[in-house]
């Protein structure tokens, strides 16, 4: 009997290890996905926020920071999982030259290893650059 108990414990431990591995993997995968999503969304949102009327008037590239935040939130909503909750924080937004900093906190749903309200925090800062090889004026 005792030997059979050891067998049962062995099975229980195996299940526990597998559960732990799945949870860790979920956190890792979630973090990775959030990071790439954040980059892509930031890129697209900045380009979407370019103010072409301002360019026509002043010959400078400017983004509308509110349009950037709007598109970012709208795109993030499209990329979220059905049970995910995100906190999005926008910091130090420069319109011209364009620079944005965004912090996104997310919850993986694995509460037992969650150190706080969110188990993943992603931060990204991006700029828009204009390249010109020529020298001269218009």
């Amino acid at each position: 009997m005792s030997q059979s108990y050891w067998g049962y414990w062995l099975v229980v431990m195996g299940v526990a290890v597998i559960g732990l591995m799945v949870s860790v993997q979920g956190i890792t995968t979630n973090t990775t996905q959030d990071f790439y999503s954040l980059r892509e969304i930031t890129d697209a949102s900045m380009l979407e926020a370019v103010d072409y009327a301002y360019f026509r008037d002043y010959n400078e590239i400017k983004i509308d920071k509110e349009k950037f935040m709007e598109v970012f939130v709208r795109m993030l909503a499209e990329s979220m999982g059905g049970t995910d909750t995100y906190e999005v924080n926008f910091y130090a937004l420069y319109e011209a030259p364009p620079k944005v900093s965004v912090e996104v906190k997310s919850n993986s749903g694995t509460d037992f290893i969650n150190v706080g309200e969110y188990d993943t925090v992603s931060r990204i800062s991006s700029v828009l650059q204009i390249y010109a090889k020529g020298v001269g004026t218009v």
Binding site: Q33, E48, A53, R56, D64, G81, A96, K99, Q129
Partner: protein
């Protein structure tokens, strides 16, 4: 899995966002008549129209058989050559122009058998004309696809990527590429088409520029939609081409050798004499012969004959072919048998090798000796050898490389609507030398013609004439030596023999009239020549034979040997017949006739009559020299002309030099209108500033100038009196409209200050201004005709005095009228010769008629002749005294009295029946006195004479008093090739203008002294003899005027009021004006998308206008989606210059009037370029439409960006979007890049991004960001929201609802003014809704400044477009 899918969606989404954001600006139309170029490569726009049947009418443009749509060929005959038009369905121009085109590879045209192209178009395209737009489009695709396949790519020469056909057929380059890409698609997908192309390339042995080789580069472009009909046509065309290539004939060569083989003369004796027969063989070599199936090769003999005719050479019969052999096959071997082969294809039915010979033998027959009594011809010794010609023709089959397929004579044709309009190439045709109806594709007329020339000596017994002539010439005895034989054979030996014999006769002293052979020489038509006849004629005249009796002279005349020079020479000598013949022979030569007239020495000579009768008809020029010469020989008319004209100047002054100063900006010419031809030229693009110079024909010009003048004449004062020279009346003051003493003419100068090329980046704007400067109107008189005035004013004063004297006379008569009594007398009055009136009586008439007339001095005063000028107010003295009635003085009258009364009283004092009674005479006298006095009561006639006197002075003074004012109101319109905005059509085209017109100033040259004064020109106004002044006073000269005062009339020095005279001899006016012109369209830049609208009804727009040096200019936007290239802007100036219609005096314009009164209807057109996304350096590659050929030109791209990114489009070299400010180019893409950065070191490896590193704003921002580093995340965010699954779903639903409204680009932004700047503070309605919980609770933390101005911070530096610095910061 769900998140992975979402990620892909996001990536795609980002791409779409970028393009959709740009596309929203482009607002591109992608379809064309229901056909769509494949997206996304094509994003241009096109204007489409459904074409009406009228567009397909070709009757007015192309001569088509029957002028119906069903014709297979359309062709046009030019200079005897035909042009096939293969795509004339859209002809809508009244006049078409054709020009050559080159294939992609110049040699490919020569290699391409033209019939191939002709047939293929016939089969594939033109067999049925278009029935509507759909049909046309199908045909158009087929035509353009086929054209591209054979190597002809229809590109416009500009880099604007447009093939600008018409508004209804406007294909951008992308669409053109789609045509060619469609061909590529068809080739790749259809093995049969590939086989056709292979057949063509192999059949034509094309080594380069092969058919179909140009298509692959357009693989990314093609038309979608149902183009199956086009493909069918395209495929049929290629099949027909391939079939034709298969059947192309060879290029066999045929050549007859110069070498012949001849048999010996075979002689046989018969009853007629000695018959000679000879045979001559000619051989032709045929090489590269290759038979063609169903296309026979043809060779045939057409004709054989002696060149001078059989009778002339004396042969028994015509030459005949007696043997024919082809490639060793003997076809015939006797003249009878061979006669059936004349005109027959001798190659027919023969299986011929690649190389072979054609041998033909010709037989000649004649008698070299004829027995006495025989009636056969004798071979003519003079015609030995006998020349003959064989005509032959060949073609077809193996020879068909010739005929219609002489492709080296063909050229490609591009039809155009205008002669130099390279942008409007629309039609393709073939141009070739064809002498037959092109609808008949075959026919013998295509055969090549050839001739064989030969000579044969059949009579070998003839002594050579040359030997006889030589011997006779040595012995010179007509009755001895070879001369006797030469005389016998004179006819055979020809003219040389007669000439020798004639000369021997003359040398022997035989009078010409008695010679035999000289007469023969003149009698034989073939021996006559004018020189010889002239020589003999002169000889006969020297021998005393009258010209009319001389056979030689008469023959000379009948041969029309006299030249025009002879005739005019004889005419000059007085021979009227020669003068008449000179006219009959149409010898007219003005110089010749004039010189003959002068040399004749008398204006009444026949030569002068000839000249005077014809010079007007011929329009012979007249000038001072001619007048002088003619005057010298007694032509009074010419003397008068010479005196009337300022001929003395003509002899020393170059033509036109006197008016150079007036028309210095104009060319000297014969027309009244001058326009500098340099104006009509392309303007080089030099520099980018407004004030840079232009380059016209390689000469740098500050401005473009031209001017108008209304007078042109050489060697004259600025004004020519002849009305015909003054074509345009440029001022209207009635004072000088028809003034007897002066003419006023005008000139107008203009200088156009046009803008130069402008650079602009897509998505921004450009502008320009232009000015018309140095506008100057100058009107000027000729030399005011003072001499004529003095003549007139003298006559006027004489008339006044005359009227005054008559007034006084009749006044006295009237006062004494009752005292006048007629009495009869029987005594002869003292002083009368009464004996002649013995049969009559004497009548004593009233003494009033015997008065010595009381008169004032009939003197006048003038500039030049001031005779006894009285002081002011002096009354003129009577010269005589007014007589009183005196009956003691009688006159002797009989018959007719002083009053015209007829009377007669005989000795018995009896009055005859027709005589009035004395009371009647007295009554008549009284009546007349009453009438004369009544006409003068109050001094009516004196006053009329004084009025005329005053009028003359006033008219003369008017030459100094006229006024003029320039009517300057130019209309300047503009346009530019911006087609991206749908509402551009409503753009106002007339430019804003600001006109400044200066005051008129008048300048005068004065002269008070006597004489005509110097002839002056415009340049000498300020140097005229008596000085120049801007104002003047009247001359106080004294003239005689008279007036009635009380009971009498008195004459005075003119004083009440005094009529003063202008001292001005010349006058001119000067007036300047100028105008500036700016674009007038006010566009609004709609924030934040940058869309353009013509109004600001949305309230989101900022007016596109800027201040430049204090001048506000409207800006012309360029769409972000506009591709890199050179586009044009246009300026059109009209309503300049002024003239006044002779009929109604209404105002007309010299150039570009909007009324019918314009000298030249066309406006002054100017075009220049605006360069989109093109860096400065690349401009050296080209200018507008004309390839650059100056020293600064290069065929290669030079400058930044050219090293690796350049792309040459035609003659334009363009680079990628590399210039500063270029953020997007349709072809090169965007230069905006996103980069993830570290906040502590944004650019660890540095950056070339000019918005970060090239200005203070960028570097300061970078420093500020790096200084704060990651600490920003510890601070308060600008916005913090929590997105729960519920909120996420709500936002997703919102996103879905906005898909049709632009998706993420939807209109959520409203911008407000910030500081002194418009529309910089932009708020999102979505963010406001998100914060307020519209999408659910988001636990929002918001910058408390949101909604206030401190939510945004402006850049503290100065904005600079040049440095790409705006006011916005964060």
């Amino acid at each position: 899995m769900n998140k992975g899918f979402q990620k892909i969606r996001i990536i795609l989404f980002a791409i779409v966002v970028l393009f959709s954001s740009i596309g929203s600006v482009n607002a591109a139309e992608k379809s064309l008549g229901g056909y769509t170029a494949n997206a996304p490569k094509y994003s241009g726009s096109a204007t489409t129209k459904i074409k009406t049947a009228d567009h397909y009418s070709i009757s007015n443009q192309i001569h088509a058989a029957g002028k119906t749509r069903s014709v297979k060929y359309m062709w046009h005959k030019i200079d005897g050559q035909y042009i096939w038009c293969l795509d004339a369905g859209l002809g809508s121009k009244s006049t078409l122009y054709a020009g050559r085109f080159l294939f992609h590879d110049q040699n490919s045209l020569a290699k391409l058998e033209p019939n191939t192209l002709t047939y293929t178009y016939d089969v594939g395209v033109v067999v049925a004309m278009s029935t509507g737009y759909t049909d046309y489009f199908q045909q158009s695709v087929a035509v353009r696809a086929f054209s591209a396949t054979i190597g002809f790519l229809e590109w416009s020469t500009g880099s604007d990527a447009h093939l600008q056909n018409t508004q209804a057929n406007n294909f951008p380059m992308d669409q053109m590429k789609a045509f060619y890409g469609t061909a590529n698609k068809w080739v790749n997908e259809d093995a049969e088409i590939q086989e056709y192309i292979k057949t063509i390339n192999e059949g034509l042995k094309l080594k380069s520029a092969k058919v179909g080789s140009q298509l692959s580069k357009y693989a990314d472009y093609y038309w979608t939609g149902d183009v199956s009909s086009a493909k069918a046509g395209f495929k049929a065309a290629l099949k027909a081409a391939a079939d034709h290539v298969k059947n192309l004939g060879g290029s066999a060569k045929l050549e007859f050798s110069d070498t012949t083989t001849a048999s010996d003369n075979v002689k046989t004796e018969d009853a007629n004499g000695t018959l000679v027969t000879k045979k001559v063989r000619h051989t032709a070599k045929v090489e590269d012969y290759k038979a063609v199936e169903d296309k026979p090769s043809i060779f045939k003999f057409d004709k054989i004959a002696f060149d001078k005719g059989t009778a002339t050479v004396g042969a028994l019969k015509d030459p005949a072919i007696s043997f024919i052999s082809v490639a060793g096959n003997t076809l015939c071997s006797s003249s009878d048998a061979c006669s059936s082969f004349m005109g027959v294809n001798i190659l027919e039915g023969l299986d011929l090798p690649e190389s072979f010979e054609i041998i033909v033998e010709v037989e000649f027959v004649g008698y070299e000796k004829v027995n006495e009594g025989a009636s056969v011809p004798l071979l003519n010794c003079a015609e030995q050898p006998m020349s003959y010609t064989i005509d032959y023709s060949y073609g077809g089959g193996a020879f068909s490389g010739g005929g219609r397929s002489e492709y080296e004579k063909y050229l490609g044709i591009v039809w155009r609507g205008k002669v130099n309009d390279t942008d409007k190439q629309r039609f393709i045709g073939l141009y070739g030398t064809v002498s037959v109806d092109p609808t008949d594709p075959s026919g013998d007329d295509d055969l090549k013609k050839g001739t064989i020339k030969g000579e044969v000596v059949l009579n070998e017994n003839c002594a050579p004439c040359e030997d006889l002539i030589k011997e006779c010439e040595e012995c010179k005895d007509l009755e001895a030596c070879a001369c006797t034989e030469l005389i016998e054979k004179a006819d055979e030996c020809g003219c040389e023999a007669f000439e020798l014999l004639c000369q021997i006769e003359l040398d022997s002293g035989t009078p010409l009239k008695d010679t035999k052979y000289c007469g023969w020489l003149a009698a034989r038509e073939d021996c006559r020549d004018c020189d010889k006849l002239d020589e003999l004629c002169e000889l006969s005249k020297s021998q005393g034979i009258a010209e009319e009796d001389s056979y030689f002279c008469q023959t000379y005349d009948t041969e029309n040997c006299a030249t025009c020079e002879d005739l005019i020479e004889e005419c000059k000598e007085g021979n009227e017949e020669s003068c008449k013949k000179y006219e009959e022979e149409d010898c007219y030569d003005c110089t010749q006739m004039f010189e003959a007239c002068i040399e004749s020495g008398s204006i009444s000579s026949p030569a002068c009559k000839l000249y005077k009768d014809n010079r007007d008809k011929l329009g012979c020029p007249e000038d001072c020299h001619e007048w002088f010469e003619l005057c010298d020989i007694g032509d009074t008319e010419s003397c008068k002309k010479y005196e009337d004209k300022p001929c003395e100047d003509a002899s020393t002054t170059e033509c036109g030099t006197e008016i150079v100063g007036i028309t210095e900006c104009c060319n000297e010419g014969e027309d009244a209108l001058y326009v500098d031809p340099a104006f009509n030229t392309e303007i080089g693009m030099m520099g980018s500033d407004y004030d840079k110079y232009y380059e016209i024909h390689g000469v740098k010009e500050d401005k473009i100038r031209f001017c108008f003048v209304d007078e042109v004449d050489k060697n004259k004062d600025p004004v020519d009196d002849s009305a015909s020279k003054n074509k345009y009346k440029m001022m209207t003051d009635s004072k000088v409209a028809s003034n007897k003493y002066c003419k006023v003419n005008c000139r107008e100068d203009y200088a156009f200050d046009f803008p130069v090329a402008q650079r602009v980046n897509a998505g921004r704007y450009f502008t320009f201004r232009m000015a018309i400067t140095d506008v100057h109107k100058q009107c000027f008189t000729n030399t005011i005709d003072k001499e004529q005035f003095e003549k007139d004013i003298k006559a006027a004063q004489e008339a006044i005095v005359k009227a005054t004297n008559e007034y006084l006379y009749w006044k006295a008569a009237w006062e004494h009228r009752t005292d006048y009594k007629y009495t009869q007398g029987i005594e002869c009055p003292t002083g009368c010769a009464c004996n002649q009136f013995d049969n009559g009586v004497y009548i004593q008439v009233p003494g009033v008629l015997a008065w010595t007339n009381p008169q004032y001095k009939s003197e006048y005063y003038s500039f030049n002749s001031q005779i006894s000028q009285p002081t002011t107010q002096d009354v003129y003295e009577y010269e005589g005294t007014i007589g009183t009635h005196s009956t003691g003085t009688a006159s002797c009258y009989a018959g007719v009295d002083a009053f015209g009364v007829t009377k007669y009283v005989d000795k018995e004092k009896t009055e005859h029946n027709d005589s009035p009674t004395i009371p009647e005479l007295e009554q008549k006298l009284t009546a007349r006195i009453d009438a004369e006095w009544a006409a003068r009561v109050g001094g009516v006639q004196i006053n009329a004479a004084v009025a005329e006197y005053a009028r003359i002075i006033a008219e003369y003074n008017d030459c100094s008093l006229w006024k003029t004012e320039i009517q300057y109101d130019p209309k300047v319109e503009y346009d530019y090739e911006e087609t991206e905005y749908s509402n551009m059509a409503s753009m106002p085209r007339e430019m804003e203008k600001e006109i400044n017109i200066g005051d008129v100033s008048y300048e005068y040259c004065l002269q008070q002294g006597a004489g005509k004064g110097p002839k002056i020109t415009d340049n000498e106004y300020k140097n005229c003899t008596t000085g120049f002044t801007g104002s003047w006073d009247y001359l106080d000269d004294a003239y005689t005027v008279c007036r009635v005062e009380g009971d009498s009339a008195k004459c005075y020095r003119d004083d009440q009021p005094r009529h003063l005279v202008s001292p001005v001899r010349y006058m001119k006016s000067n007036q300047d004006a100028e105008s500036t012109h700016k674009p007038s369209a006010l566009f609004y830049n709609i924030y934040p998308k940058g869309e353009i609208q013509m109004d600001n009804s949305s309230g989101k727009g900022v007016a596109l206008q800027r201040d430049y040096s204090g001048d506000t200019l409207k800006l012309l936007p360029v769409a972000l989606g506009t591709p890199k290239g050179v586009r044009r802007y246009y300026i059109n100036v009209s309503n300049i210059g002024e003239f006044y219609n002779d009929g109604d005096g209404s105002l007309g314009r010299f150039a570009g009037s909007n009324t019918s009164k314009a000298v030249i209807g066309e406006n002054v057109d100017y075009k220049c370029a605006y360069l989109i996304n093109i860096p400065e350096a690349s401009m050296k590659c080209s200018t507008l439409d004309t390839p650059c050929d100056g020293p600064e030109c290069s065929t290669e791209c030079v400058g930044p960006g050219c090293e690796k990114d350049f792309l040459c489009e035609g003659i334009d070299c363009v680079t990628d979007c590399v210039g500063i400010g270029c953020i997007y180019d349709k072809h090169a893409g965007t230069s905006i890049y996103q980069r993830e950065v570290s906040l502590t070191n944004i650019f660890p490896n540095g950056t070339d991004a000019y918005n970060w590193m090239k200005n203070d704003k960028g570097t300061k921002t970078k420093e500020e960001i790096e200084s704060a580093g990651n600490s920003i995340f510890d601070g308060t965010p600008v916005l913090s929201v929590t997105i729960t699954p519920s909120v996420s779903r709500s936002i997703q639903n919102y996103n879905d609802s906005q898909n049709s409204s632009g998706g993420y680009s939807n209109d959520t932004i409203t911008c407000q003014d910030l500081g002194s700047y418009e529309k910089l503070a932009c708020y999102s309605s979505f963010i406001s809704d998100l914060i307020s919980g519209t999408y659910g609770s988001v636990n929002a933390k918001v910058d408390p400044n949101r909604g206030s101005s401190s939510y945004f911070e402006l850049w503290s530096g100065t904005p600079s477009e040049k440095d790409m610095l705006g006011p916005s910061w964060k």
